[in-house]
Symmetry: C3
């Protein structure tokens, strides 16, 4: 099983940034942006989470600056989306699965980065979550809306669960390949169940204004 | 008086990040976020200002990544707020005082950090202000509203005044403990007077559209 | 011609950050901010693009922290704008030209910085674009609107064209002074033609909601 989980995770990573770039392009389209705006939002959605993670962890040079191919990939995916958007509607389910795979893969990769830098446990978990969800938050801020990640069915919670499981198994001495595979499968299952069942976290609604 | 101002400031800092986390949680509640969103906004409001300061000053590792207890504290405070929010209404005055103490403490701490790194005067002042107000700006951007700090009664100006006074007394050779105590008291007084009197800066209103 | 392009670019840079600060102040006025908010938005619009570039490239200390005079200049320009705003309406054309010069100068400076740090081609181009347009994006996010740069007539595209031309001539071994002058003139011409002709990129409009 040598190298298998790492290679698999890398493949999933490429699929994930592509899917995220496409989701960014669609959000830009909802705001009637021009194709440059589409490219920026696609880039930010796909690679923004990893950028914020690297900044917070003080990890320079930042990932994508050493991998021009990622930049070309996500911008191409964003621009391609403007052409095939009407067709993508029929792929809604596939798209949700790809997005879920991305969330889980991003979370595992982000945790691994902070783990390798010797950060405390809570920072490792937050690193995974930042990688998993900050791209979507940046997308929503640039599109001038309250981030959906704060209101959607289990999403960030899945990221949290994946990072926690990965760290727990790591602490138990489980082999990293096996750990990655198990955490990935568990996280993806949880996310798909949450979508299927419409599971949500409790909402905190507070309308009293006194400031 | 050895260590006293530093210890006092640290105690006030803990109170301040707790109060800021609670204000973030209430803002999240106004947007009907789920409890994960509440935790994120609480975290960002309380520790976001210091994070931006550390990024701007190139100070790695970033403060809270070395202090997991701060992260647990602010997330707990945010989640606790969802339970006690209805009760907090009766504590409006206490809350405003805590928030004001936080603003002044954040400003002094932020100035001190840049001072210790040898930055120019204007950067030291801006470091204090960034620490004092950027958490609230991030909170408002994530909640999709124009930051209140740009429109509220004297708030950022208090941060500016505190940092200026602290630097002035420092230049005069005043002992740091005494300086901290005096600057803190003066800043808190100014802020409370501004709230009490509804003092505001002049508004710049420009409705002509020509872009 | 020794030093001439560098000196000229520096002069244009000072004009550019002044013009950007004024555009930020006007945007703040449209949101009825107080004069502190005006100063912050002026600062962020003028120096925010360079700040984000330096963060992304891991270039510390960040530019303006070593140049207090820039900070004083942009804040002064922002505050001055509150006084002369009604008069500026008559200067609309001058202002658009200054803004265009700023866009091109920022792009060239940003590319040069990344070039000097040995980053890959795509990162050099993105560094120029980030420097050129991120100040305006931050301004719009803080003023709670969708960034105009994603929807306006050729703007970011001009930045892209300038950076590409500069890199192309650099690769051909053209002298840096000459290269800077040619790229600047070409970029400014393109931008002014785009304003004059109302040239825009194709819009991607996607109103189907299925998330």
């Amino acid at each position: 099983m040598y190298y298998s989980s790492e290679t698999a995770l890398f493949g999933i990573y490429l699929i994930a940034i592509t899917a995220e770039a496409m989701s960014g392009a669609l959000a830009a389209g909802r705001r009637n942006m021009d194709i440059f705006g589409v490219a920026v939002i696609a880039f930010v959605t796909a690679l923004g989470g990893g950028t914020i993670r690297d900044l917070i962890l003080g990890r320079f040079p930042i990932g994508w600056t050493q991998h021009p191919e990622y930049v070309y990939l996500v911008i191409s995916a964003g621009l391609l989306t403007t052409v095939i958007a009407s067709f993508m509607h029929n792929l809604k389910r596939l798209f949700l699965v790809l997005d879920s795979m991305g969330l889980v893969a991003f979370s595992l990769i982000g945790s691994n980065v902070a783990l390798g830098m010797g950060y405390p446990t809570i920072v490792i978990i937050m690193s995974g979550m930042i990688t998993g969800i900050c791209g979507g938050i940046l997308r929503d801020v640039l599109c001038n809306q309250v981030p959906v990640v704060f209101r959607r069915e289990l999403y960030a919670s899945v990221s949290l669960a994946v990072c926690g499981l990965f760290l727990g198994l790591h602490a138990l001495g489980v082999d990293t390949d096996l750990n990655t595979a198990v955490s990935f499968a568990a996280g993806l299952t949880l996310r798909l169940l949450a979508i299927w069942g419409g599971w949500r976290l409790p909402i905190f609604s507070y309308q009293h204004r006194w400031e």
